[in-house]
């Protein structure tokens, strides 16, 4: 494996123009681990993530054994929690980052505060990854789909809709805030809401 690692690194160097992450591949491996406990897929994930996790952990833990523990714990959580990954909610890298950051946080707290309360998963839920359960959000928006529908609107309409729904600004306040005539704000909002109705109607059918 050590040699594999080196050859991966060398390859990366030679193709460094295309060093973007292959997200669909990572997702596929994670899903294989989740659905079929695929050890080969896990090995691929390990080879991709472990050296990077180790590098990051080294910066936070001068103690080598502790840095290795971060790698071990993070990857072992990936193995045991892969089914909690939801590719509709974010990239595999984001999910593994969350797992790694949580392991690191709990370990630092254990070392510095001598507390073994493992609070990280309450602060940053691994299963839902900051999903929206907030009342403010739910009051106005049925679900997260709406957010993605809003994001698809032209920027000018997005600004108005987000100001109106998320920040609860009045149309008058929005006009001042966006430095637009009130009539423009009203017509943009009407246009945007028309589109949202159509989009959401379609989704609900």
């Amino acid at each position: 494996m050590q040699t594999n690692l080196l050859s991966i690194a060398t390859n990366a160097k030679s193709i460094s123009m295309t060093d973007k992450i292959n997200h669909p591949q990572l997702c596929q491996w994670l899903n294989s681990v989740a659905h079929t406990r695929d050890k080969q897929a896990f090995t691929h994930l390990f080879q991709f993530f472990a050296p990077k996790i180790l590098r990051i952990a080294r910066a936070k833990f001068p103690n080598e054994a502790q840095a290795n523990e971060v790698v071990q714990d993070t990857m072992s959580n990936v193995w045991r929690k892969a089914h909690l990954f939801n590719q509709d909610k974010g990239a595999a890298t984001t999910w593994v980052y969350t797992v790694m950051r949580n392991v690191t946080f709990d370990m630092l707290r254990k070392i510095q505060g001598n507390k073994e309360d493992n609070l990280s998963d309450d602060i940053w839920p691994v299963a839902e990854n900051m999903s929206s359960e907030g009342e403010t959000f739910d009051d106005h928006l049925e679900n997260e789909n709406l957010l993605s529908v809003i994001e698809a609107l032209p920027q000018a309409q997005q600004d108005v809709v987000k100001g109106f729904y998320f920040r609860e600004m009045s149309q008058e306040q929005l006009a001042t805030h966006l430095r637009l005539p009130l009539g423009t704000v009203k017509s943009r909002l009407r246009l945007a809401l028309g589109k949202l109705k159509v989009q959401l109607g379609e989704k609900h059918d």
């Binding site: 494996m1 460094s16 590098r55 950051r101 946080f105 309450d122 403010t136 959000f137």
Partner: protein
């Protein structure tokens, strides 16, 4: 409408895991009620994750640091993989339990972030009721503070910082009115005298900063200038 949000530096430190549990929980509580910050956090997390796991980092690392490379090779990754996949355990996601707390005969839902934190006995002073949250962070004190209608906190300043997240109700001070969800971060230069006409429940984090130990100092370093 929520008017007060954490500064972006604070959100960054939160996502990086550099803040103490008390402040991290404060931001999580706010984000649960604030779609704007929730989205900022999600976006920044995605970005940090992408940067962390980009191949070029490994590349740079290996070119720059031969010693580190040797010690990487010294870990037996094969052994670690074998060890991990031997386990057939799966972590079941536990549904969030809802906990509540009672102040002055009124039941309040506890933010789920606080579910596993230990709360001390309530202490009473006039119209104020306080319960400490035992996070064991030295000079940083975290509490739930309930103010009965008409109550207030006497004028005060802090040597360090003072965070208030409003969980229910409202209060006002010299700078204005605050409502449920507001994230109010004050530093030593701020002086205020909050009063709650109709009562409120707050999550508060404060330090006295007189005797910062090195450990805590280190913990706060990433946002040092912001917090002092």
């Amino acid at each position: 409408m929520i008017n007060h949000h954490p500064k972006f530096e604070l959100i960054q430190a939160f996502v990086n895991g550099d803040l103490p549990a008390s402040l991290s929980a404060g931001i999580a509580i706010h984000a649960d009620m604030c779609a704007v910050c929730q989205q900022k956090i999600a976006q920044f997390t995605e970005q940090v994750a992408e940067n962390s796991f980009e191949e070029e980092f490994l590349d740079r690392f290996i070119v720059d640091d031969n010693d580190a490379l040797e010690s990487i090779a010294a870990i037996n990754f094969d052994h670690m993989i074998d060890d991990i996949v031997q386990s057939s355990d799966i972590d079941i996601a536990i549904p969030k339990t809802e906990k509540s707390i009672e102040f002055n005969g009124v039941k309040y839902m506890l933010p789920s972030v606080l579910n596993n934190m230990v709360l001390s006995k309530k202490a009473n002073i006039g119209k104020l009721t306080r319960t400490r949250i035992q996070l064991n962070e030295d000079e940083i004190h975290t509490s739930l503070l309930h103010i009965k209608p008409g109550g207030g906190v006497p004028e005060h300043t802090h040597k360090g910082f003072e965070l208030t997240v409003l969980l229910a109700g409202s209060f006002h001070d010299e700078s204005g009115e605050y409502v449920k969800g507001d994230f109010i971060m004050l530093d030593g230069s701020d002086q205020h005298h909050p009063v709650s006409t109709n009562g409120c429940l707050c999550y508060t984090v404060a330090n006295d900063a007189l005797h910062f130990t090195q450990g805590i100092n280190k913990l706060l370093n990433p946002i040092g200038s912001f917090i002092y």
